[in-house]
């Protein structure tokens, strides 16, 4: 049984089908003629002859399936033969296997990178709407200089392009109160951070708008990794208090293992998320536009606004702000805002 025969068999499928077609047509024709002879009108005669076949496409498939069963059987024989040949030629087998393994491995590695970087969307609904917002001082060619708190509020409430906007403030923090002090990564955000990402906890709850405080919100959300590492995955962790940099917080929720902060982190992963209003002690009072206190901001664009269009509207809006507050935005600095789709920022 040669491979060539299978290939030819496959090519013959269409010829077989034509023959089957012709055979079935002849059958229908003969039945129709007999029907007419029995006194049916030609239409009735033909309809009756065809009706008896039911679905003629299905019928042809049934008839053809017989060929495929045979094909599968010989495929099994061919595979067994291939196995014997490979066993008899171990040198060739090793070389071929290694070549295949390296080739497949390289492909998998390449695809994994491409998949992660280009293809795999962020694990949040409508990731294409998520952007980082950078403050740049173009005239001195300095980028990502930080955002004043009042500017965050203006962008959120008056720019017209954001559904949601949150500060992102990574902090290298010290966890105390356990057996040993531990260095952890804290992320300070606005209270709408999780709502913006539409992220759900695996345990407890996330902080929401109702938790908003002018200063710090007491309830914090922890990562799955931190939960397992520090609390051994204890389901009773909710309500427990942790002391971070001397301040006491209460754990209100645990994020699922797949959730990661969709942006740059300091060293590894965010362990603890905390919310702040940045508008009361310990933050400087009153808020100042001249103080670029927030390290960064992250937003979700309104539906239907593409990044390019959002950028154009943001340029107009920032020109208005600069005009309104010339002291905070001196013309010589060339201040501007830049949107970058979240996928490209890390």
């Amino acid at each position: 049984m040669s491979w060539l025969k299978h290939v030819k068999g496959l090519l013959h499928v269409s010829r077989l089908e034509r023959e089957l077609d012709e055979e079935l047509c002849a059958h229908i024709e003969m039945r129709a003629q007999d029907n007419i002879a029995k006194g049916m009108t030609p239409e009735e005669a033909r309809y009756d002859a065809q009706r008896r076949f039911g679905n003629s496409t299905l019928l042809k498939e049934d008839a053809r399936a017989m060929d495929i069963v045979g094909w599968m059987e010989t495929l099994g024989q061919n595979l067994r033969y291939a196995g014997r040949v490979l066993l008899r030629n171990p040198g060739f087998t090793t070389a071929a296997t290694l070549t295949l393994a390296l080739g497949i491995g390289a492909n998998v590695a390449t695809f994994a990178v491409v998949h992660a970087v280009l293809l795999n969307p962020l694990p949040y609904p409508h990731p294409e709407q998520l952007v980082r917002v950078y403050d740049d001082l173009r005239n001195s060619n300095t980028h990502d200089v930080g955002m004043p708190v009042p500017e965050l509020w203006d962008l959120r409430d008056h720019s017209g392009i954001f559904q949601d906007l949150t500060a992102v403030w990574p902090v290298d923090a010290n966890l105390t109160g356990g057996e040993h002090p531990e260095r952890i990564e804290l992320l300070g955000t606005s209270v709408n951070y999780f709502t913006m990402l539409n992220a759900q906890p695996q345990l407890g709850r996330v902080y929401v708008q109702a938790d908003a405080q002018p200063g710090f919100t007491m309830g914090v959300v922890i990562s799955d990794g931190f939960w397992r590492r520090t609390f051994g995955g204890d389901p009773g962790v909710l309500g427990k208090q942790i002391r971070v940099d001397g301040d006491l917080y209460t754990i209100i929720g645990v994020m699922p293992p797949g959730f990661h902060h969709p942006g740059r982190t300091l060293n590894t992963e965010v362990d603890v998320w905390t919310a702040a209003g940045f508008n009361a002690p310990p933050f400087p009072q009153p808020v100042q536009r001249a103080l670029r206190m927030l390290p960064g901001a992250m937003g979700r664009l309104k539906p239907g606004i593409a990044v390019a269009e959002a950028q154009a509207r943001l340029d107009t809006f920032s020109a208005q702000l600069a005009h309104e507050y010339p002291d905070a935005y001196p013309a010589a600095a060339g201040w501007g805002l830049r949107l970058v789709p979240l996928k490209k920022t890390w």
Partner: protein, 110 residues
């Protein structure tokens, strides 16, 4: 769609087709007509079962097929028994009569 009561029983179709072809080569339509007429319209071969069955029997080597011209001058595919088909027919006739005798004796004693 309800199935007609006297559709040929699963498994007996091959026997009936082989027996019909024992009389000589015939096309598919002729086979259905013959079975229906000889059984006094009691047995009806469904077209939807007949052609897959013919194809299967051809693959098994019980019958062979070639194109010919029908009574009314149409190209039609004629099936005829092979030597293997004749042996198969003898087998199936034997097992059929064993089966009917067995059923009959159950019916008589019960």
């Amino acid at each position: 769609m309800t199935k007609a009561k006297n559709d040929v029983l699963q498994g007996t179709l091959a026997l009936l087709v082989l027996k019909t072809l024992a009389r000589g080569a015939m096309h598919g339509y002729g086979i259905t007509v013959h079975i229906q007429r000889v059984s006094n319209e009691v047995l009806r071969v469904e077209e939807g079962s007949l052609y897959p069955a013919l194809h299967r029997m051809e693959q098994d080597g019980w019958i062979s097929a070639e194109w010919g011209i029908s009574e009314n001058n149409r190209r039609a595919r004629y099936y005829q028994l092979t030597a293997a088909g004749r042996r198969q027919l003898a087998e199936e006739e034997k097992s059929w009569s064993r089966l009917t005798q067995a059923v009959a004796s159950v019916l008589q004693t019960a």
